[in-house]
């Protein structure tokens, strides 16, 4: 009896100390953020008072936000693919970053062909060229993801969820090395967009490319939302995500619906690949890795399986990594802050999970086997 009592007590004690530890970390992290922001405001005010010049001008801060939102929209588009596949099959498809990279690679090839033919300039012809690039990227990424599903995941559908998870990491390495072998290690450059794209517009003085990126991302997300919420196939997808057996009982072709889910996620990654090309213009076999991991982070921040959450997670991550270093870290006199943007991105993940372990919009998942 005594032994039982003791073991119970010790379990309780560990729980308490874990709780205490978490609370301490929560409080400390909040204090760090608050301190950083406070120092930032003090510096801004002091700078203005001393020499009429704040360390960060309004324009600079605005620029950081715009950059954050446009990159965040791209992360969000990739995150949708992670979330959708997780919703339907319950594993994280780590090859999704490479599907995005395939889209970016195809954008590099098609945009250069179009540039050589004189279509990558002017107003109307540039828009047409961009639509062609988008279309090709969507086709390439969709085909890539359908192939991956057919070859790598379907034969492992009934295995424990860790097996497709590991398979996806293998596929990811395979695709990176395949692209490396085919195109070489050097970074490829997309042609510069016409000059009207680099001008600034509206009272916010947003660069043309960033407006374009945000518009394309918004249209894609709206399209996806309509597809998932308003079409029969979308309804079937949500049904399969919830209960495959009963979905089959309704007469839904579960296999085809799973392929559709992969395809739609792939199409979104293809669009994101083009957006990457527009924003950074440099593409290589390594392009998929970090954005892929960040998009996965965005999906977890929003709550994996929740599409709106993934989008929001992407935007939060993008803004945080863009604004965070200069607003919070720099005032604390941390050196070389702009190189810490990736660290900030993942710190956001830790922070969100500290306060809400299911992600911002996530629901507690049932005890199904998910990896």
């Amino acid at each position: 009896m005594i032994a039982v009592k003791r073991s119970k007590q010790s379990v309780l004690r560990t729980n308490n100390s874990v709780d205490l530890f978490l609370t301490v970390i929560r409080v400390v992290s909040l204090i760090v953020i608050a301190l950083g922001l406070l120092l930032f405001f003090i510096e801004q005010i002091r700078g203005t008072a001393l020499n009429g010049d704040a360390p960060l001008t309004g324009g600079a801060i605005r620029g950081l936000f715009v950059t954050g939102v446009s990159q965040g929209a791209m992360y969000g588009l990739i995150a949708l693919g992670y979330s959708m596949v997780y919703g339907v099959l319950g594993f994280i498809n780590f090859a999704h970053g490479e599907v995005f990279m395939a889209g970016a690679m195809s954008a590099w090839i098609t945009s250069n062909i179009l540039f050589d033919n004189g279509m990558w300039e002017g107003g109307f012809s540039f828009i047409i060229a961009l639509l062609i690039v988008l279309l090709v990227a969507i086709v390439v990424s969709t085909l890539a993801t359908i192939l991956i599903e057919r070859i790598a995941y379907r034969p492992r559908r009934e295995s424990p969820r860790l097996i497709p998870l590991i398979t996806s990491i293998v596929v990811s390495f395979f695709m990176q090395n395949a692209v490396l072998g085919l195109f070489g290690p050097a970074s490829k450059t997309l042609p510069a967009p016409p000059s009207w794209m680099s001008d600034s517009y509206t009272f916010l003085e947003i660069e043309g490319t960033k407006i374009l990126v945000m518009v394309i991302a918004a249209i894609s997300m709206a399209g996806l939302w309509v597809f998932v919420e308003r079409t029969k196939t979308g309804k079937a997808m949500r049904a399969v995500a919830e209960d495959k057996e009963i979905a089959a009982l309704m007469g839904i072709d579960v296999n085809r619906t799973i392929v559709t889910t992969f395809a739609v996620g792939g199409a979104m990654a293809g669009v994101a690949g083009v957006l990457w090309g527009l924003l950074f213009r440099g593409v290589s076999s390594q392009t998929g890795f970090l954005p892929g991991i960040k998009a996965f982070t965005a999906a977890v921040i929003g709550g994996v399986g929740n599409l709106g959450g993934s989008m929001a997670g992407g935007l939060i991550l993008g803004v945080a990594e863009s604004v965070g270093p200069l607003l919070i870290l720099k005032p604390m006199t941390i050196p070389a802050v702009s190189q810490l943007k990736d660290a900030v991105a993942f710190a956001v993940l830790v922070l969100v999970l500290l306060f809400k372990p299911t992600g911002l919009f996530g629901e507690r998942l049932a005890s199904e086997d998910r990896a």
Partner: protein
Amino acid sequence: MSDRTPLLEFKEINTHYGAVHILKDVNLAIYPGELVCLLGGNASGKSTTLKTLLGMVKPTSGDVILDGEVVNEKPISYRVERGVTMVPENRRLFKRLSVKENLELGAYLRTDKAKIAEDLERIYDMFPRVKERLSQRAGTLSGGEQQMVAMGRALMSSPRVLLMDEPSMGLAPALVETNFELIQQIHAEGVAIFMVEQNANMALSIADRGWVLQTGKVVLDDTADALLQNPELRASYLGEAESH
């Protein structure tokens, strides 16, 4: 009855899960418009019978026959299109989808839009409570309401035979009787019903015929009245011992 062709039939069905032999030479026949029930204790193979009828489980030998055609190798959707559907055990609604979407999914394979809208209205008439909750997530409904949606969803496929897996399981006692009335109401509209039920007394009181399954074998096959009188059955399933 025997002069008509059965709607759904089992001929010498054997089913295995891995090495475990579940159904052993089972013969069943469900005729159009009948209300029949399958009784049996735990692990007697009742749920497997339903799953094999629908094609969710493939038999290792024997034939599943739908309208005189062997459908062993046909997918579930083939049978659903031809009027076989099931209300699963514990209802199994799509909890995160709205009530309306659940009903619409029942008609997933149908393309006759006008007729679907008509059937939807018919279900609203049958379950006015469901109509009030159309835009709500199905998971937020009470057990009784979920049962109505589950039945409505099955009816939306315009079935000729409705398979019901333990329809009174998990329902409040007060709802069990309402539930049986609903089953009779659906039956009265000409839908054949094949019911797997623990509540043998209640099931037999509304059924035409019944089978008793014991460790995968059909041990009794008779009219419902005869089964109600069967002393062996009374002892083991109808709680005779307790009623004394």
